[in-house]
Amino acid sequence: MSEALDKRTSPAPRPRGKLNVPKVTLAHGGGGKAMRDLVDDVFVRAFDNPLLATLEDQARFRLADLSAQGDRLAMTTDSYVVDPLFFPGGDIGKLAVCGTVNDLAVGGAVPLYLSCSVIIEEGIEVETLRRIARSMAEAAAEANVMIVTGDTKVVHHGQCDKIFINTSGVGVIREGIDLGAGNARPGDIVLVNGVLGDHGATILKSRGDLALDAAIESDCAPLGDLISTLLAAAPGTRFIRDATRGGVASVLNEIAIASDTGIEIDETATPIREEVKGVCEILGLDPMYLANEGKIVCIVPEDQSANALAALRAHPYGREACAIGRVTSQRRGRVVMNTVLGGKRIVDMLVGEQLPRIC
């Protein structure tokens, strides 16, 4: 992306600040040298790219470079407050990059630039911040995006929980791609790119309230490349959505309502790990509502579904992809599941948070 840089904004080499304390204090949010040391030594060092290194109040990029890649901009934002900060398969940093990258990618956009705004609770270990920043940098490298601007605030103990991260993202939508929840048509096929509920089950397990010992990890992953592959193989794809909070069930309901169609899914075709099923059995949760951080729901026309499925399965993040159901003209606005037993049931929108049952 070196062309993206105007010569006039190229960074003059500037000595970077060094942070030599073990913990963050309110001084690191004060706007002075301590803050610059924190920003330089933790974030700029990890994210390391020329657009960020200028440390202007804004990142600058050339319109011509953007318009060469598509005809519309996509912009999105998300905040990350996950507890615990580190969990099997990921951490808050990886999540903050992948989540925003995926929100761009599912709209058919090529993700390009992210911002990173952190709210830090005083007393957090600097090493914890470094781990998070490194993890963000690794995820950004994999997703082929740059973190180009950011902000840090430090708040009093108890005013936030260790660290909250907000990332916003900008991407460019390729010409001719127009994905939307209202585009589903009866006969279309519903695909997912792998097993469902791993992230939600992992977080529940990692909170440590329950002595659950299940070998599961978060599916957190940047899906830009997978989605590009899918769109190349099935250009008629109607809609893609990452099935995060609220799970696959919530996405399917949105599609059914927006497109005024019915959606029928098969319980036996829905891929869920035994370990995740086990966690759900114990806690009384439905894996269809568990959060995913590396799973998409795709609606594709039937005649392109075989190509779409093959393309997904050929990608490392789609090896266990499968068709879980189809769009119908019956029971418009509703999602119906054919149960493993041969019955049918409605899969409704989740109300509030899924609360564990008591008995």
């Binding site: 309230d209 059995e281 493993v340 037993l341 049931r345 409605i346 049952r357 008591i358």
Partner: protein
């Protein structure tokens, strides 16, 4: 194949449906009116809807969803008491997750938490005791809720607290017992039930004997049932077989979990800590004699009702709410005047709409396939 999948096998389900149809064919009375079988336990209600069991049954068999959901039968006044306790300065109030959204007359525990009360969700009363141990300067109250299924763990927690000498822990006891309520249902003059599926996990504690009066005095069959879909279908077939053969007995389909005499150690822990209340108020059903338990005097220092000022006001349910008739099996959830209109899972009027084991919430979420979608209601 995993252990649990064996109880969800579609081929076996079809065989059981065949058996159910065969039994129905032998029963003359169901040609004029459907046979009504009550599943007492909310866990069964949930399984029935989750697997679409109702639509697989012949028209001659109707399932009636009973009062066995402890969250659903909690009267509004008790929720107000919880909120008052939770808002007492210096208190950490601990509860199972289900109870968070149950509406009180002014607010739910979830709203009280948002207003600043220190309310924490736990998975076990021992978690609440651990909170008490690590917060010696706070009073930790555990909201004890449920039938005999959860009673032993609460009783053992009190005994543990006593053994450790922990004094900043107490129990707001709302434990209830299913037998007097089943007796109230059976003795109702408008009883329309032909048989029962008995609660599996309650029976694991209390055993088979307490149900005998249902067979002996009221001449109705009861089959203690497991919670997997094949368990439920198998139990329905067993109830129908009894009806077809003119028998009324207590049978145990869930013998892999439920011993004939229950769990005697658990029973001992219960009776050491708890005694029957003279009466307890059930939402929708009213006051039922000896249907709740309280802490014995020997452990009075663990009784939140004696340790704190509890308002204990009786609050009538909203007039439009017909939870009581639904609980008694007189009304189907979707026939209630406010179902899906004023009363939805987002804004529940009645408790049956709150818990996933409540009949109304189950109907709303999984049930009537041809109901109008949310938001397009008249």
């Amino acid at each position: 194949m995993k252990y649990v999948d064996e109880f969800r096998d579609p081929a076996k389900a079809r065989a059981l449906i065949g058996e159910i149809n065969a039994q129905v064919a032998r029963i003359e009375t169901c040609k004029s009116r459907p046979l009504a079988i009550m599943e007492v336990c909310g866990g069964h209600t949930h399984a029935i809807f989750k697997y679409g069991i109702e639509q697989m049954l012949p028209d001659a068999v109707e399932l009636v969803h009973g009062p066995g959901c402890p969250v659903c039968v909690l009267p509004m006044g008790r929720v107000d008491d919880c909120v008052a306790l939770a808002e007492t300065p210096g208190v950490i109030f601990t509860t199972f997750g289900d109870a968070m959204r149950v509406p009180g007359s002014k607010k739910s525990l979830m709203q009280a938490k948002a207003d600043g009360a220190d309310i924490r969700m736990v998975y076990s009363p021992l978690d609440a005791l651990a909170i008490a141990r690590s917060n010696p300067d706070k009073e930790v109250i555990f909201f004890g809720l449920g039938f005999e299924t959860t009673m032993p763990s609460t009783a053992l927690t009190i005994l543990q607290a006593e053994a450790e000498g922990i004094r900043n822990f107490s129990l707001f006891c709302n434990h209830i017992t299913i037998i007097p309520t089943m007796e109230a249902i059976c003795s109702s003059p408008d009883l329309k039930l032909d048989g029962f599926l008995g609660p599996g996990h309650v029976s694991m504690v209390i055993g088979e004997a307490p149900y005998r009066f249902i067979a002996e005095r009221y001449k109705r069959p009861l089959v203690i049932s497991g919670f997997e879909p094949l368990d439920v279908l198998h139990s329905i077939a067993m109830v129908l077989k009894q009806i077809a053969e003119g028998r009324a007995e207590i049978e145990n389909q869930y013998s892999r979990i439920v011993p004939k005499n229950g769990n005697e150690q658990a029973q001992a822990a219960i009776s050491r800590v708890f005694e029957l209340r003279e009466f307890f108020e059930w939402r929708g059903l009213g006051s039922i004699d000896h249907s709740g338990v309280r802490i014995r005097d020997a452990y009075a220092h663990y009784d939140a009702e004696r340790k704190f000022a509890v308002p204990a006001l009786k609050i009538a349910d909203p007039a439009a709410c017909q939870c009581g008739d639904v609980l008694k099996g007189l009304l189907k959830p979707q026939d209630c005047k406010v179902f899906g209109r004023a009363c939805t899972p987002e804004t529940p009027l009645g408790a049956l709409m709150v818990s996933s084991e409540g009949a109304c919430a189950a109907y709303y979420q999984y049930g009537d396939l041809d109901r109008e979608p949310v938001g397009e209601d008249a």
